[in-house]
């Protein structure tokens, strides 16, 4: 069965650079969620989209933005990267925002 796809899987950036992470949900899933998991930390919800509209907002920094496109894929844009942004970034998708979430493998971002 198709799963959530995230790209890239690994990304190395320098401080103050920008990064774009992409998420492709499971087919027919219309809701996408983004999470950040720092080293040894539990995942923290950042933001979610339902039918291309932002539906919930968590602890997403102002330096980050995200959107969901017409094909339901989503992109997380991160600017002015800081060392503390180094983390695993997970995307998850669900159907109708009412069902269980399925997580992608994550993108490991390292900021040097």
């Amino acid at each position: 069965a198709a799963g959530v796809i995230q790209s890239p899987r690994h990304l190395i950036k320098e401080k103050r650079e920008t990064a774009t992470l992409k998420c492709y949900p499971i087919p027919r899933h219309d809701t996408v969620y983004w999470y950040q998991q720092g080293p040894g930390q539990d995942p923290q919800f950042l933001i979610s989209f339902y039918e291309k509209m932002q539906s919930d907002k968590g602890s997403i920094p102002d330096r980050f933005s995200a959107q969901q496109f017409s094909d339901y894929h989503s992109e997380l844009n991160m600017s002015s990267l800081e060392l503390g942004d180094s983390a695993l970034y997970f995307c998850a998708s669900s159907r109708d925002s009412l069902y269980e979430q399925y997580f992608g493998p994550g993108t490991r971002l390292t900021v040097t």
Binding site: D42, P43, Q44, F45, D56, S97, E100, Q101, Y102, R108
Partner: protein
């Protein structure tokens, strides 16, 4: 905070034994989810239990929910070395949503 707190934080058992992990939360919820995460890998949804359910089974997994005590347990029977992972419980970010807020997780090690 809706955040679930897992207990114990670490659990080490022998293959074939049962593993029980507990989760407590603070406010009323309409569902609770359990996830598994292998080291540095993505989150895998295990099971969702709704507030009107007391027990749910999935393969070797058994989840209970006691809304009066605001607690849940995850039992893995006949554990295998491949069950070694971190297990998180997650409760909704806000009242009726399905967006999970994760606890710190229980690290399970199953020795062959």
């Amino acid at each position: 905070s809706q955040q679930g707190e897992e207990d114990p934080q670490a659990l080490s058992i022998q293959e074939g034994e049962n593993a029980t992990m507990n989760c407590s939360y603070k406010t009323s919820i309409n569902n609770l989810q359990w996830y598994r995460q292998n080291s540095g890998r993505g989150l895998v949804h295990l099971i969702l239990i709704r507030s009107n359910e007391r027990e749910k089974h999935s393969g070797r997994l058994r989840v209970t929910l006691d809304t009066s005590k605001k607690s849940s347990s995850l039992l893995i029977t006949a554990s295998r070395a491949a069950d070694t992972a971190s297990y998180f419980c997650a409760t909704p970010t806000s009242g009726g949503s399905y967006i999970p807020t994760f606890g710190r997780g229980t690290s399970l090690i199953v020795h062959p």
